[in-house]
């Protein structure tokens, strides 16, 4: 397998980045996201969240539970700063 394959397209995080982070830190999806930025880009993790969860499940052994591993937070769509009250 090509380890330089991109997993998070928005932030251009590779398979290797994510795999090694989880392996080295033995961490959850949330911590992996904070460490690598996978799932923090423009699409809000819509494309890569399941991949990050799968890698974490495999390497760290955090199985899919009923709670959503990478919590959804507003805004769930990209919005301009002025919508949030900016100028």
């Amino acid at each position: 397998m090509r380890e330089d394959m991109i997993i998070c397209r928005c932030e251009e995080v590779t398979y290797k980045d994510i795999y090694q982070t989880v392996e080295h830190h033995q961490c959850s999806s949330r911590e992996t996201k904070l460490r690598t930025r996978a799932g923090m880009g423009y699409c809000g993790g819509r494309t890569c969240r399941t991949f990050v969860d799968q890698i974490v499940a495999e390497v760290y052994g955090e199985p899919s539970g009923d709670a959503i591993p990478l919590k959804y937070r507003p805004p769930v769509r990209p919005i301009p700063f002025k919508t949030m009250g900016g100028k």
Binding site: R2, Q54, S64, D66, P74, I79, T83
Partner: protein
């Protein structure tokens, strides 16, 4: 202005809910970010076993006509980015301002799962649903000569639509085997997953597969060994369960794919590697419920793979444990458009009941039965265990209610 009910999503579920609620005198606003009403219906075109064509654009038009008939307020091109509760009412934040409602139905549908493959970020690589929207909604060909990676009911149905639109396809093949393609890249897994689809079309592949359903693992293995490497033709598209794309290649855009033949046990046949020229690639990894907004609203979830993954807990009347929050359609589990429509109809009635505008229980019972009948007859079944998944959710919701009542 305060509405009785806000509905997010103008797909078959949201529109049907708006209609049945409005018929009971509920004052509704439907919000959708797309510029046309109909949701995923707009891309659908398939032939039912009785040779009648299911034309999603026409179905969407019928619902839209009824919406106009009932003078239902419809806001298109309006994207919801946040929902919250304030003083017992719902506040729905959109790029067009804030909407307020006493009850809220989230009918946001499903999102597509992708499959990472080396080269999948090149322009010209798209999800199978994007190819469907380009072709059937915008009437633009995604390319002239493509290949589909991922063999499942959605990719078979959409490949057919591409073919009807005159787009040439090299075939439907498997993704490479790695940690993220478990269950969708091994010939045997894919072979077995297709066995429940034999009713889809009177084709050699599926008839042949149908003969094998229920046979021993040994017989299945044997038949997979005999499965021709060029695949079987389904509506003249070759479905190649023993060919893999290992990489998508191109300079600045897709120019080709590297493929190889597989043995029945999933190993690459040495010397079979070659590069096929293509100008677009579709990736089909299946669907999952688009639950982001109910997540933000604080609704609890249950992980049920046969429904597509994490689904909001809801009872058989489409009510969630969050007061005044309802769900319907693919957000509750991946099923066909007809089921989504039936669920929407029920949700509209439940909302009317919650608002005190409907007291007749018989109508709600009939709506529940109608969903079950529709499910029974559904042509497109995304998961063979859908009914078990639905039952599971019913018991979860009932347990949840008991706990609430006893104050645990």
């Amino acid at each position: 202005m305060m509405k009785d009910c806000l509905i997010i999503g103008a797909g078959p579920a949201g529109l049907s809910a708006a209609i049945s609620a409005a018929q009971n005198g509920v004052d509704v606003t439907v919000i959708d970010e797309f510029m046309k009403p109909g949701g995923r219906l707009l891309g659908q075109l398939h032939e039912e076993p009785d040779h009648v064509w299911w034309n999603g654009i026409e179905e969407a038009q019928k619902l839209f006509d009824e919406v106009l008939n009932q003078s239902i307020d419809l806001k298109l091109g309006t994207s919801v980015y946040h929902i919250e509760k304030a003083n017992d009412n719902w506040l729905v934040h959109t790029n067009e301002g804030i909407y307020r409602g006493k009850t809220l139905l989230v009918a946001a549908g499903a999102a597509e799962r992708s499959i990472p493959i080396p080269g999948w970020t090149l322009p010209g690589v798209m999800s199978i649903g994007a190819a469907q929207v380009m072709t059937n909604v915008h009437q633009v060909k995604p390319g002239h000569n493509g290949i589909v990676i991922g063999i499942n009911v959605l990719s078979l149905a959409i490949a057919r639509e591409l073919q009807l639109a005159g787009v040439h396809l090299q075939g439907i093949v498997l993704p490479p085997e790695h940690l993220l393609t478990k269950g969708v890249s091994h010939p045997m897994d894919v072979f077995q997953s297709l066995l429940h689809l034999t009713h889809l079309a009177p084709s050699p592949l599926l008839k042949w597969g149908g003969l094998l359903a229920g046979k021993s693992a040994f017989i299945q293995r044997l038949s997979l060994q005999m499965y021709p490497k060029n695949g079987f033709k389904l509506w003249n598209i070759s479905v190649q369960m023993k060919r893999v794309v290992t990489e998508i290649v191109g300079h600045e855009q897709v120019q080709g794919v590297k493929t190889a033949d597989l043995t029945a046990s999933g190993d690459i046949v040495p010397g079979s590697e070659r590069t096929i020229p293509v100008d677009f690639v579709c990736i089909a990894g299946g669907l999952y419920p688009l639950v982001e907004l109910v997540g933000v609203a604080g609704c609890p979830f249950k992980y049920i793979p046969s429904l597509g993954g994490h689904v909001p807990i809801h009872d058989e009347r489409m009510k969630t444990p969050v007061d005044g929050l309802f769900v319907a359609g693919n957000i509750t589990g991946i099923e066909s458009a007809k089921v989504a429509k039936a669920q929407g109809h029920l949700a509209g009635l439940s909302i009317s009941e919650a608002l005190g505008k409907l007291t007749e229980n018989a109508e709600i019972k009939r709506a529940i039965e109608h969903i079950e009948k529709t499910r029974e007859k559904a042509l497109i079944q995304f998961h063979p265990d859908i009914k078990k998944g639905r039952k599971h959710m019913e018991t979860i919701a009932a347990d949840f209610q008991k706990k609430e009542v006893s104050g645990q």
